[in-house]
Symmetry: C2
Subunit: 354 residues, 2 copies
């Protein structure tokens, strides 16, 4: 049976990417060797790394604008630390829009003064804080573009002269934005880009080198830039699979093309949530994420029936995060609209049964 994979991350990847990645594990490019048993300094892998780095800048429209793309390790959680180590000299502002934002704040506080310029914690993060100010003397401003757990997404970003740092783990490559408004973007691969195990960092080089502390080598963006993202052995398989996904996206027409599909999927999903009296959306409407739709049953007695129906339809990964409860439909780039239709159909069938 066809599975509909709504997992929040690690999450769905294009089938053609999975097939190519699988082949490479046995024999890469007819070399007689597996991709994962060759040197990362071999021409084969250096080409993969360079291609992946170039595709990132091309897809984001950042070529020739002073940005470098890095494929690091340790997830967004390590970036919480690296951002502070590399950029925090005296004080920084953070937007507290969800659990991950709160973790980023906690880690940065180890290093210096960190201020929450806005927070939606009071409402269990069901909206994006707005109307906040970013003082001109802050070293940087940090925000989270999409809050996977709560299903909210920033639709606009503040105008500021302070370097803007954005955790785009769960919506990078999903919508057109002026990416040059950001000084640093980071994203764990395991949503729209590839498997777990590598973290994309896109950094405008001129924001670096302004802190006085000594930075450990592995935590230093400049060290990784100078070594072409190969300071140490990189996570070969996650980077190769990410490169394949970036190529797939480019062949589909890039971010502008996928954005249209993502809008259609989200629109279908939210229409059902709003029109079906058995369901209620969690996030406020204006801040709804196009990647993760969070919703609850209005009648908890239907829980078992609904979940059995989901299972019978081959729908997996829709359980909500424990801090929100209910359901979460993650509709990343690789998800076909057919899967959203299958979920919406089950929801509508539940209504006709109830």
């Amino acid at each position: 049976m066809k599975k509909h994979n709504f997992s929040a991350g690690p999450s769905i990847l294009p089938q053609e990417v999975l097939l190519k990645a699988s082949e490479a594990v046995v024999d890469y490019n007819n070399s007689g060797l597996s991709l994962i048993e060759i040197s990362h300094r071999s021409k084969d892998f250096v080409d993969i790394m360079e291609n992946a780095r170039a595709l990132v800048l091309e897809l984001l429209g950042l070529e020739g604008k002073g940005y470098k793309a890095l494929f690091l390790q340790g997830g967004a959680s390590t970036q919480f630390l690296m951002v502070a180590l590399n950029l925090l000299e005296t004080r920084a502002g953070y937007l507290n829009s969800g659990s991950w934002a709160a973790k980023a704040i906690k880690e940065a506080k180890l290093y210096d003064d960190v201020y929450e310029v806005g927070s939606s914690k009071d409402a269990n993060y069901n909206y994006i804080p707005k109307g906040y100010e970013i003082p001109e003397d802050y070293d940087y401003f940090h925000c989270t573009s999409n809050n996977t757990i709560f299903g909210t997404q920033m639709k606009s970003f503040p105008k500021t002269n302070v370097p803007m740092v954005c955790d785009m783990s769960s919506d990078i490559f999903s919508r057109t934005l002026d990416f040059s408004q950001f000084g640093l973007i980071y994203a764990g691969a395991q949503k729209n880009m590839g498997p777990a195990g590598t973290t994309l960092v896109v950094v405008k080089e001129d924001i670096l080198g302004k802190v006085s502390r000594k930075i450990p080598s592995m935590m230093d963006y400049q060290v990784h830039i100078d070594k072409g993202s190969m300071y140490n052995t990189p996570p070969v398989f996650p980077i190769y699979t990410s490169m394949l996904t970036l190529e797939w996206l480019k062949n589909k027409g890039g971010i502008a093309a996928i954005e249209k599909e993502n809008e259609k999927k989200a629109s279908l999903m939210y229409s059902e949530i709003d029109l079906n009296p058995l369901f209620k959306g969690f996030a406020v409407k204006e801040d709804r994420s196009f990647m993760n739709a969070t919703f609850n049953l209005t009648n908890d007695n239907l829980k078992d029936t609904f979940e059995t129906m989901l299972k019978e339809a081959g729908i997996s990964g829709v359980n909500g995060h424990r801090s929100v409860g209910g359901y979460r439909a993650s509709m990343y780039n690789a998800m076909p609209i057919e899967s959203v239709k299958a979920l919406v159909e089950v929801m509508s069938e539940l209504e006709s049964k109830a």
Copy 2:
């Protein structure tokens, strides 16, 4: 043509592991989903993680002895930093036996006093320093069991009451040792355990919690222990493939069984180096590594001939590291003795031609 893969790392893995890992990328366990697109919190992946962690302790003979196994990210290079952050309160002793040891020393020096108790830098690291003392008041002693670049290996370890920390990146699981003499062992996966992208840490829990600094969450061993090595999204594919390799090793009879094979391979290799007048070993005999044999041609004019012959025999990955030059034959666990025979045959053929 059959390839003989002598790559120093990422390096050869068992063929059956590659096949299983490749299958899982398309369909894991007949679930209809790829291993790399399911949640790391799913039962499927939690089972993989727990199985991998248990296999590590079982193979090392460390079950029930207060040790925890973790699968982290960032390679040995990140461990250079984590070891110091978690264990270095006032001073520590390091054995400078190679380039990686020197990097470990450099990173730890950011935090506090670090002393080189012994060094073989004066001889381009062609031997293992011996006869050094480890003062009783050191927080820990750090050594590198096998020096991949130089082809040296510690045959014995000092007796000390100070916690012993060992970088075993290039010889873990290759030979029997009393692993309980170490307080902390770490190893990048990409030699004897799996693909690049995960780092094994085996730590005796009672050596932790003795430093006064605040440790960032991702750098804190205790945080990872408390979260069952799942504080954040782990590198799913590298861990799964490592688990398969550990299972393969267990089925072969464990470390004692593979050690016998490794001894045979090394003995074959070093015999040829010593008996063939065209070659000269780089490392001193008593410290020769059973994993990486380093050697040079005695007559540089034969370079092109030798390398053409290697290529024709399907032998790859034998170029020496730039800091040593010449050749390096890495003979990790997964390398069949046939590959070593193929290399030795080429060396001996060169002699008969010359």
